[in-house]
């Protein structure tokens, strides 16, 4: 049973790797944004399987990874949205003319 878990984890790592490099190569930013989501679920699944009988606290790491994958994903999206309009409004952010 243990080696089944380990083998399943290795297979998921490889599948995730294939998807990850596809996503990283773009061509558009939204494609690249999917990386966080893909690796969030694939990496967490691999971790849970690899440590099904292993280190205590591994589930905590999975939980932190899940939370932070959500956080990074949103940071990606915000960065993608902001970069379209980059170039303007850096110097004068928030300087109301009425001041």
């Amino acid at each position: 049973m243990d080696s089944f878990f380990l083998a399943a984890a290795a297979i998921i790592v490889l599948i995730t790797a294939i998807g990850l490099f596809r996503v990283l190569n773009g061509p558009t930013k939204p494609d690249r944004l999917m990386a966080a989501q893909l690796l969030g679920s694939g990496g967490v699944a691999a971790l849970l399987l690899a440590e099904a009988r292993g280190a205590r606290g591994a589930i905590d790491v999975a939980l932190v990874l899940a939370l932070l994958a959500a956080f990074s994903g949103i940071a990606f999206v915000r960065a993608a949205v902001m970069s379209r309009r980059s170039g303007d409004e850096w110097e004068d952010l928030g300087d109301d003319p009425g001041d």
Binding site: M1, F4, F5, A8, I11, I12, I15, T16, I18, G19, R22, V23, T28, K29, P30, D31, L33, M34, A36, Q37, L38, G40, S41, G42, V44, A45, L48, L49, A52, R53, I59, D60, A62, L63, A66, L67, A69, A70, G73, I74, V77, A80, V81, R84
Partner: protein
């Protein structure tokens, strides 16, 4: 009894691997961003869901089982929101040309 539980785990996890594989194939084959996003979210949530389901009977105690479910819920929530946000970015991008 243990055999039945192990069999359940093996079946669920194999199913999970199948959905991860389907998601990866879709990422490689589908023509545009929105269809790829669609495939990714479906495959990932089902894949991770089945893996978690398969691991539940193997959990050491109730707290560990709860945390396993929580991991899935967090990723499910995040995945839903993120795909919505990403598709909006993709749509805006397409509109701008």
């Amino acid at each position: 009894m243990t055999l039945a539980i192990d069999l359940f785990s093996v079946l669920c996890i194999s199913g999970g691997i199948f959905f991860f594989l389907a998601g990866a194939v879709a990422l490689l084959r589908f023509p545009d961003t929105l269809t790829r996003l669609h495939a990714l979210t479906k495959a990932d949530n089902l894949g991770l869901g089945l893996v978690v389901l398969g691991l539940l009977p193997q959990a050491a105690n109730l707290l560990a089982a709860l945390k396993l479910c929580l991991v899935w819920v967090v990723l499910q929530l995040a995945g839903t929101t993120l795909s919505q946000l990403i598709s909006r970015v993709a749509k805006d991008k397409a509109r701008q040309g």
